[in-house]
């Protein structure tokens, strides 16, 4: 069953606990990063583990692969040559161009942790959730792309 990280825009308070959890676990750059979206929102972005990953397509040495069962897109640290092609190819900008230790940072959906992603576990507001495709469909969060409360994200 493929599970994904889903962000509920109404809940995220921008505290970066998710980012810190990732950074602390992987002792480097966080793989979930905050982006300022047109000065209106400041929200975390992580790898979407795309159905047709452009990072994978762009990688000259096939360091990036997609697991058909789990949907997970992984990058092999051994194979990666640090050419930054994936960083430029990713439409979401989730791979950071300044590379740490000369290899690209790539979210692994915390495949090393049975309980699932650390960023989701740490999320202070419950905005990040770890849901299967079916759960996403049933969950209103999957469809909510804009905030439902008029005052949220209001900048003075």
């Amino acid at each position: 069953m493929q599970k994904r990280i889903v962000l509920d825009l109404d809940l995220c308070c921008g505290c970066r606990s998710c980012e810190a959890a990732c950074k602390a676990a992987f002792k480097g750059e966080a793989r979930i990063r905050h982006g300022d979206i047109a000065g209106v929102a400041y929200l975390p972005l992580a790898c979407k583990h795309c159905k047709q990953p452009l990072c994978l397509a762009s990688c000259p040495v096939e360091a990036i692969t997609k697991d058909d069962n789990t949907g997970l897109v992984t990058r092999s640290a051994m194979v990666c040559i640090g050419c930054k092609s994936c960083a430029f190819a990713c439409p979401f900008g989730v791979i950071d161009a300044p590379l740490v230790r000369h290899i690209s940072q790539k979210c692994s959906l915390c495949a090393d942790r049975d309980e699932g992603p650390r960023c989701v576990a740490a999320c202070s507001s419950g905005a990040l959730q770890w849901l299967s495709d079916e759960e996403i469909e049933q969950h209103e969060v999957g469809m909510r792309m804009v905030s439902k409360d008029l005052f949220f994200r209001r900048k003075a």
């Binding site: 109404d10 809940l11 308070c13 921008g14 505290c15 970066r16 606990s17 980012e19 810190a20 959890a21 950074k23 602390a24 676990a25 000065g39 400041y42 495949a111 090393d112 942790r113 049975d114 309980e115 650390r118 576990a121 740490a122 999320c123 202070s124 507001s125 419950g126 409360d149 005052f151 949220f152 994200r153 209001r154 900048k155 003075a156």
Partner: protein, 524 residues
């Protein structure tokens, strides 16, 4: 855990000691030592942790963790240090004992008892954070039901960045009922303000004045609208709304260097409570203790050369208040610390995370598990004290003296400060959990786009900030979240904290760190 032999992994439960929220987590150990933090679903916060909690393992294992006594940066063995300290306490009249943060109530009792038994008369708090003033409010612990019942809630400061764990309950409460109103008061636009139903963006440092006006205090001669920047009609409407709204909650979380008068801040919260019946919930990192004297009298005794040695228990003083160095000249300081510093004489101690005992949280008292071993060279407070004297006694705990403050006079003073418009910049302190002790990210200075353009500062430039005490280089973030003439930086490390100006509050005999005049220029 996959890929690792489960037999080699141990998870030790602990209570996060970095703020008064008291979240629980696990520290993962393998054969090689500390591996990381585990998010425990059945813990106090359901596994959720703010950046400080996630960084706990990094802190335990930090390369700067202090493991040996240091004299001006040079390692000394404990036996030699004990001998020196015994000599110092042998002349108790010339010694002061102080305490800041990372001291449990049990350790505090032991310290007070020790001072009593050896005849040290000068004890004082060296915890100068504004939250120190909010201690009385912690006596009535917060329960989530308090918020459930509320229709209105105030937030002072950026609580979602300072104590992110508060966000879930507050956001859910607000979403539960459209009529639930969240009102943010701050001089900076913040994430918390972005969630509020109403954001009262006050002029810097004037938060207490707005609270007093909401509590309908008579402040003759002070034009509240002009001083705070909030329209008198808005204040009046809101004030009428909250009168007798005994089910409301006020979350107080103004950080270091953010307001001109931390004493008035506490008093204004008290008056708001009296006026409206709303519950005041302080979000603090630590509450501090009462000493037998205010620290100001110790400063005076140092000046008169009566006190020559000071032993501090905790982890902030004097390292995080470098601007006090001038007024403590000639004083020999012995300070416990969890991180290495090269100044003064440093005594390595365990983190609260590694202690057994009690912590006072926003939700009441909680137990520290003592499950995690401190570094071998760190000695507990009790162990240090027993090296210094053979006997032990339970000393009399000093009690806070009721102090009346002149609200009108203080309000007038803030009005005066804000009225004298200067061309220079004011630096205010922020508290951002992600900037925890500089482990996760260095401090970032926020500057208004107009000011940045005028000074020729571009995004990601490094700027030099100069105050009358020191200078610091910081990367900038250009944002309208700060008004023109205002700069904001998280006051986490000694480099930034050391820029802030302090004032002696003669009425409360307190040391206050306030918004500070600074010069700014692009580096290079």
């Amino acid at each position: 855990m996959k890929n690792i032999d489960p037999k080699t992994i141990t998870i030790k439960r602990a209570l996060c000691p970095f703020c008064s929220f008291g979240c629980e987590f696990g520290i993962i150990f393998n054969d090689f030592g500390i591996k990381g933090v585990e998010y425990v679903k059945d813990g106090n916060s359901n596994g959720r942790l703010c950046p400080r909690g996630s960084a706990a393992a990094m802190y335990l294992d930090h390369p700067r963790r202090s493991t040996m006594p240091l004299k001006s940066g040079k390692a000394v063995v404990w036996s030699k240090m004990a001998k020196e300290l015994r000599k110092v306490v042998g002349s108790p009249k010339s010694v002061a004992v102080t305490f800041d943060r990372n001291v449990t109530p049990e350790e505090y009792a032991a310290i007070v008892g020790f001072c009593d038994s050896v005849g040290i008369g000068y004890t004082a708090s060296t915890y100068f954070e504004p939250e120190h003033n909010l201690r009385p409010f912690l006596e009535k612990p917060f329960a989530p039901a308090d918020l459930d019942k509320a229709k209105i809630a105030f937030v002072l400061g950026d609580i979602f960045n300072q104590a992110p764990m508060s966000s879930r309950a507050i956001i859910e409460w607000k979403m539960k009922d459209k009529k639930n109103e969240l009102i943010a008061i701050d001089s900076l636009n913040t994430h918390t303000a972005g969630f509020a139903s109403q954001f009262l963006r006050v002029n810097i440092g004037t938060e207490p004045l707005l609270l007093l006006a909401l509590a309908q205090e008579n402040l003759d001669g002070v034009d509240i609208a002009k001083v705070t920047g909030i329209d008198a009609r808005v204040v009046k409407e809101l004030s009428n709304k909250i009168k007798n709204s005994s089910k409301g909650v006020i979350f107080a979380s103004l950080p270091f260097g953010h307001t001109y008068d931390p004493g008035l801040y506490a008093e204004s919260l008290d008056r708001m409570h009296e006026f409206s019946g709303m519950k005041v919930v302080p979000f603090v990192e630590f509450a501090g203790y009462e000493g037998s004297q205010p620290f100001v009298s110790i400063m005076e005794m140092v000046k008169r050369k009566k006190i020559k040695n000071l032993i501090n228990f905790g982890e902030l003083f004097p390292f995080y208040y470098p601007q006090l160095a001038g007024s403590l000249k000639g004083l020999n300081i012995y300070a416990t610390s969890t991180l290495k510093h090269t100044d003064h004489t440093l005594l390595p101690v365990p983190l609260s995370l590694e202690k057994e005992g009690t912590v006072v949280t926003t939700f009441g008292k909680r137990k520290l598990t003592g499950n995690i071993e401190p570094p071998s060279g760190a000695k507990s407070v009790e162990a240090i004290l027993s090296m210094l004297s053979s006997g032990s006694s339970t000393g009399k705990m000093p009690h806070a003296v009721e102090k009346k403050i002149d609200v009108k006079e203080r309000a007038r003073r803030i009005a005066e400060i804000t009225e004298t418009k200067k061309k220079s910049f004011k630096l205010v302190g922020e508290k951002v959990a992600y900037n925890f002790l500089g482990f996760l990210e260095g401090e970032i200075l926020k500057i208004n786009p107009y000011d940045a353009t005028e000074l020729g500062i571009g995004a990601d430039d490094i700027v030099t900030i100069k105050s009358k005490y020191d200078a610091a280089d910081l990367p900038v973030r250009i944002t309208e979240d700060v008004d023109q003439g205002l700069l904001a930086a998280p006051a986490e490390t000694p480099a930034v904290r050391g820029l802030f100006e302090y004032e002696i509050d003669s009425e409360l005999q307190a040391v206050n760190f306030i918004p500070t005049e600074v010069k700014i220029c692009r580096k290079g």
